[in-house]
């Protein structure tokens, strides 16, 4: 269970996140929607520890992040947190000097200290599950955007995270490839992954996200089950956003 409570994040004097609260139950998918600059990506970066929070708390089972923690203690807990959270960045950030296979086995071998042969066997399985096994020896630069994304997903999954974070996964995909990604993520739900997907494409989240969180100006406007929030939003701002998106 992930609990985010009254999360505050400031940068150079302005509040980027102001009192964000929500829960993500295991084996569910949360979609975070909102316009650009609403704080969606910052929220995600707080969840994987790339941004230090300035107030409130993030709880992931027994790991609790708070602003008041000392530097070393915060760093220690972030390490714990990152062990459970995998991230697929908007710009993917694949390692260009490593092959597809190298990208995937890098962390299992050097962070989890897995044997190379085991790590590679598992990497091939992962690549197969995302339909990329035949490209294992290629370098990222020679792959298409969609292919690179699947490598990035496999790379995140290789560390067996309990929670997968996606930042704007459809931003570089054409509709056909977006549909392909959607069906891939649906298989993840069946396998019991918990996911937080940040996206401005509401259509992509329908049938994928159990809950939606609509943000505006760094604050949560509305949080609820996907169908309820889309069909009968209680806040007029949510209504506006949903209507515009359609």
């Amino acid at each position: 269970m992930i609990r985010v409570n009254e999360l505050l994040k400031q940068a150079s004097g302005t509040c980027i996140l102001r009192g964000v609260s929500f829960k993500v139950a295991p084996r569910t998918v949360l979609g975070v929607i909102g316009a650009s600059g609403s704080g969606k990506t910052t929220l995600l970066r707080c969840l994987n520890g790339l941004e230090r929070i300035d107030g409130g708390s993030i709880e992931f089972d027994d790991v609790r992040l708070e602003a008041k923690l000392s530097r070393t203690e915060y760093a220690r807990r972030i390490k714990e947190l990152r062990r459970r959270v995998g991230t697929v960045f908007q710009h993917l950030n694949l390692f260009p000097h490593l092959t597809v296979l190298g990208n995937i086995v890098e962390a299992p071998i050097h962070v989890s200290r897995a044997a190379r042969s085991e790590a590679e066997t598992e990497a091939y399985e992962l690549l197969e599950s995302v339909g990329m096994k035949h490209l294992a020896q290629r370098y990222p630069e020679s792959l298409s955007g969609g292919e690179q994304q699947r490598v990035a997903i496999a790379r995140a999954l290789a560390m067996h995270p309990q929670l997968l974070l996606f930042d704007e996964p459809t931003s570089a995909l054409d509709p056909k490839r977006a549909a392909g990604l959607r069906s891939l993520l649906l298989t993840f739900i069946e396998r019991g992954h918990t996911m937080v997907i940040v996206s401005h494409a509401i259509g992509f989240l329908i049938g994928l996200a159990d809950h939606l969180l609509y943000m505006e100006g760094g604050a949560v406007v509305e949080y609820g089950e996907t169908d309820r929030l889309l069909n009968s939003p209680s806040d007029p701002r949510t209504k506006d956003f949903v209507q515009q998106a359609e």
């Binding site: 062990r83 962070v111 792959l143 560390m159």
Partner: protein, 526 residues
């Protein structure tokens, strides 16, 4: 006589000129004006040539040049020395005005050939090698060599005891040739001060110098003592360009004159340089005998190509040692400097910046001189090659740190973030993800720096390290073979730098291939 003629000529030509300049008559015919101009021009040209004959331009190296010619410690803008006084006397005897041209000992002969001055008067010995390039007057001084050691030295009593030691002297002198002939390890210095200082600092075991220098620089120093008696006589003669027989006759006559009238003896006595050997040289002349070529043993070593190539090869080995050693220091020290300046706490950033700006902002030559001559003051006396190696290493570390920093900061932040989110520590992320990518960016400028470092080893010349540039200068000066040796030395440099550049290019290509094995199938907007 000549002087008075010149004066009249001068007056006449200036009168022409003033007449021309003062004439404001607009009706002056053009051809008349032209002829006036020509007369004035020719007159002034003639005047300049005559006045050039009137001076005696003499070349010598005043740096560490005591007691021959050197800067007066009390009036640093004036030159003094026994040869300075002697040239004054010679010029007076020749009816000329002496004009001193400060030059460099090693290149005196080539400068004379180029016409930078009329004569060399700088304690120059007439060797067979030099005699191929220039002419010599009759001798004016008989010198001997004196070996000097530290006062606590008890094993070196003569040059023969120095076969396993290193003896300092000036390059391309009777002393250096004598030791080369006898197979004694020696090191050439640009001036006696540096040689005696290294003796004091125990970088060398003895110094062999002409007696005049030994008298001036070593004898008053209680830390030194002479080892054995002066030996190996030779003469100092005035060097002249080939074919200037009239000038040579004039100089010989002048030497004859100042010996006969006692002027030279007076000067030598004043400088404490008068001894029996001088009397032996001068007495026959004074008793009216014509100046004969006094047969003294002239230490000469004629140029030997096989030995030259061997010495060049040794110099090349030293160059390689210095280049690789200092590159190793530069590469390994550059990284902590780059990281300190980039990610360190503020005080460390500041410290690294000070280091980098100091070493980039001051000439490497000055840094080497400081390390070599300055550090012994605090008890740290390194041998020359090590000084060059460390000095160049420290200097290039500043440059490499900037190459690294540029390469490191060129790696997108997303690479760090992806590493962190996979659970990597900063050190692991740096080592496995950032560094390999940065290395590829840094490789071309690093290669470039290494090649330039290779050539920069030549500044080690300033601290008497026998590397390629020093070897070239000394061998070429000894033989006059600037062209041939220059080609040989260039080939040595190229033989070392080209394979390196080639190796770097191959490495670069391999890294590039690795990154993009197939260029096709790339989509925009990933």
């Amino acid at each position: 006589m000549t002087t008075s003629i010149n004066k009249t000529r001068h007056k006449r030509s200036s009168r022409h000129y003033s007449c021309f300049a003062g004439n404001r008559d607009p009706a002056l015919p053009v051809h008349k004006l032209a002829s006036f101009t020509i007369v004035a021009l020719v007159g002034s040209l003639w005047f300049t040539t005559v006045s050039a004959q009137q001076v005696l331009r003499w070349g010598a190296d005043p740096s560490g040049g005591a007691p021959y010619v050197f800067n007066d410690p009390n009036h640093p803008d004036q030159y003094i020395g026994y040869e300075k006084e002697m040239v004054d006397a010679l010029a007076a005897a020749m009816g000329r005005r002496p004009e001193f041209v400060a030059s460099d000992w090693e290149t005196l002969v080539s400068a004379l050939q180029r016409g930078s001055f009329d004569v060399i008067v700088n304690g120059l010995e007439p060797t067979t090698d030099r005699a191929k390039q220039i002419d010599f007057s009759n001798a004016y001084y008989v010198f001997e060599l004196q070996l000097t050691v530290r006062s606590d030295e008890d094993r070196i009593r003569a040059l023969a005891d120095c076969h396993n030691r290193v003896v300092g002297t000036l390059g391309n002198t009777a002393a250096s040739r004598l030791m080369q002939k006898d197979g004694i390890p020696w090191r050439g210095y640009p001036d006696p001060v540096a040689a005696y200082r290294d003796l004091e600092l125990k970088r060398i075991d003895a110094v062999l110098m002409d007696v005049p220098m030994e008298m001036y620089y070593a004898r008053p120093n209680p830390k030194f003592k002479p080892a054995g008696q002066p030996f190996s006589r030779g003469t100092y003669n005035v060097g002249l360009p080939k074919g200037k027989d009239k000038l040579k006759a004039e100089v010989n006559a002048a030497i004859y004159k100042i010996i006969r009238d006692g002027t030279l003896e007076q000067i030598l006595r004043k400088w404490n340089l008068w001894n029996d050997a001088q009397a032996e040289l001068q007495n026959p002349i004074r008793s009216g005998q014509p100046a004969s070529n006094v047969a003294y043993e002239i230490t000469s070593a004629s140029f030997n190509w096989r030995e030259a190539i061997w010495r060049l090869t040794r110099a090349a080995a030293v160059t390689v040692l210095i280049a690789f050693g200092s590159m190793f220091i530069a590469l390994s020290l550059g990284m902590p400097l780059a990281i300190g300046q980039w990610k360190g706490p503020r005080w460390l950033q500041w410290l690294c910046t000070v280091y980098i700006e100091f070493f980039r902002g001051t000439p490497v030559l000055v840094q080497l001189l400081f390390l070599y001559f300055g550090l012994p003051a605090i008890g740290l006396a390194m041998p020359g090659w090590l000084t060059a190696l460390v000095g160049l290493g420290l200097n290039y570390a500043a440059y490499e740190s900037q190459v690294y920093r540029a390469a490191l900061t060129a790696i997108p932040r997303g690479q760090w973030e992806a590493s962190y989110s996979l659970g990597m520590s900063p050190v692991l992320a740096f080592r496995r993800i950032i560094l390999p990518q940065a290395f590829r960016i840094a490789l071309p400028p690093m290669t470039n720096d290494f090649v330039s470092l290779f050539k920069d080893t030549s500044v080690a010349y300033a601290i008497s390290v026998w590397e390629l540039a020093t070897a070239y200068r000394e061998l070429a000066n000894a033989s006059g073979q600037f062209l041939l040796l220059g080609v040989a030395v260039s080939l040595f440099y190229l033989a070392m730098s080209l394979p390196m550049a080639h190796l770097a290019r191959r490495l670069e290509r391999r890294l590039q291939r690795k990154e993009a094995p197939e260029v096709a199938h790339v989509e925009v907007g990933r």
